[in-house]
Amino acid sequence: MLFNSLEFAIFLPLVFIAYWFIFHKNLTIQNLFILFSSYLFYGWWDWRFLSLIFVSSLTDYLIGIQLAKTVAPPKRKRLLLISLGVNLGLLACFKYFNFFIESLVDLFTTAGITLNVKSLQIILPVGISFYTFQTLSYTIDIYRNKLKPTHDFIAFFAFVSFFPQLVAGPIERAKNLLPQFQRPRSFHYEQAADGLRQMLWGLFKKIVVADTCAVAVEYIFNKPATLSGGILLVGVTLFAFQIYGDFSGYSDIAIGAARLLGFDLMRNFAFPYFSRDIAEFWRRWHISLSTWFRDYLFIPLGGSRGTRQQRIRNILITFTVSGFWHGANWTFLIWGFLNGLYYVPLMLLNRQKKHTAIVAQNRIFPTPGELVQMLLTFLITLVAWIFFRASSLQEAWIYLNGLFSKSICLIPLAEIKSIQYPLLKGCFFCLILVIVEWFQRRQQHGLQINHLNGVVRWVIYLIIFTITLYSANYHDPQEFIYFQF
């Protein structure tokens, strides 16, 4: 079920009513209802893959309990390896199997040996990278004695499959979310109302900004060799907003929907395009994944300690693996590696934590210096986005060649005649997004406007709701980009 579909518009109110009016008296039944709703939500797409969520949940539930009972380090390690094996095995099988096979065949072909191995027709189960990482972090935290295992079977299964964040995060930590399943929840007007506002803002970002940009992006990325550099620059800029609107929009809807049910999920995006360097960007972009890799890969590798070479290695490995997490393609590996390269100089100069507070904290506008820093950071992320969006390294290379050519300052209208309207519409809504988020950058989301007069607020909600509904595609809703990861 997609958040931007008619089914979800019917599903969520029904769940909300049943949750607060029918099942509110008993916590276990309420959790059971969440579990049922979450499986229904996921099964709507393909019920067969529910078994994978079940296997992942059951494995980590049982291993968690066993880990708490076991003292001997070798045995504890063995248990952890089983959890890693099952979860990463599922990922390897469903997400990376074909990539490994094809890369192996390519490698042998380069060496002049023909391998007769065929790739498999495997459907990538939606959200597999998200829920496997969520359950993994639970087991690893127990192994590290940072968390006590739960014996509440229903609460744990509901925690893993919680429908608002099941398919595209935020990747929650058990420490934050699991206790919320174990204590009674009560309805708070402010929490629910703000949840609705955040959902509305998320829908606006997805349907109005991302889906509008998608039309022009698709066109431009499909024929980079024939277009001028200026148009390619516009294309990748629109893609930067498309991916931001799409993914942060999803996160906003997820967080908002969870708040309607009395849960607080972690923040996943904090206005990343207002970052002054790449380190700040990665503290503000896909926060739940960045912190996951920090805690479970970067720090165990040695983190910022050790020799200069070790620190560089740790950064590059973490970013490259994070890129690979996104998809089984060399383009994602390069994207991750490139971001690692951007990060290395900051780390070596020990400037990676220079910008921790939001830009222009006590001012309306940034200083010229801050503006330049933000633009430069945005520009280097654009180069990396080319690899993220391109379907192959060859395509990314063609795009880069076209972009960094003499025609970078040219935008011949004849080349974009057929997409003039969606392109202009996309640029207009990107501008609106930037303006709103700039003024809202100290808040949690773009529609946290409690300081405004009630009538003004309602007019704003009404306009955004109307524009969003009039922009949605009801016959063939666009999937969220991160569903493929």
């Binding site: 109302a193 309207y421 109307t466 009039y470 922009s471 009801y474």
Partner: protein, 312 residues
Amino acid sequence: MKKFLIKSGLFLLLFLGVNSLFTLYLDFQLPRNVRHKLFWVFSHQQQHFDFVIAGHSRAFNLVDIPTIQKKTNTTGLNIALGGSGLTDNYLIFRKFIENGNHVKNLIVQIDIYSLNSAQSFGYPFHDFLFLPYIYTDYIGDAIKRHRGWLRYFFWKYLPCTRYIEFNSKYDLEFLRSSFRTDSGWNRSLGSKIFYDLNYKNFKKPPARKYSVAPIDSLYLEKLLEFTREQTINVVFYTAPVYYKLQGYHNTQIPDRFLQEICQKYQIPHLDFTALALCQNQYYFRDYNHLNSAGTLLFSEILSDSLNHYLKR
């Protein structure tokens, strides 16, 4: 909770109220877009025509009205719409007549595609084009038959849902065009000839067994009943197809059906599928569509035939 529910409900009511007013405005403004073929057809009122041509793309794109006018010394209009089924044809023609227009002859392009529109066209009933007229009984009835009562209910009683659902059809560009009064259709009198498209080596469609869809036969009969009431003379014709397609599909069922209908309503059927020009790819754009050269030639041939059947 009470406060939350009340405020959410109020917001929804406010949204519906404001958007219902907006829908009323759209109902008024959108049909003024005379750059759109259908609304250009409906913009005609209290006019006299010797003939109008109805059908799908093989009528819309394959006849040149000025040529027919000249050859038959009559006045005519092309009210056909690309990819339209017989429901569309009926609704367009009836609405056109109810706008006060007087027509002596209705020329209908009919073939295996129009008799099974769901099998032949991607979007055979253009429901969204008739939404501004949903309160007209026969239009509402057609929408209900094609889209079911739930959709019909929403579109009729929650007016804003109409244009929200079809926002990609009625976008800002469409609204903007509705303020312009110039229309290219006045020059071509409703036809759109394929001037720049010549025959290429296109793929032959897979052979099929064609049937007659009940909904298409129903609306064909409604159309014929309506013309009978209005004492309008009807002529059927089938436009040329490239010779490689002749006898290629199994068309026994629609052929027999058409024969029976023609007998029942005493309608002449002019079949041009085996004209000499069908042998020459120079006249074709694809298997089912003539290019401009073919269209101009065919319009002359059609005019010669129509001269015998048109009511003067």
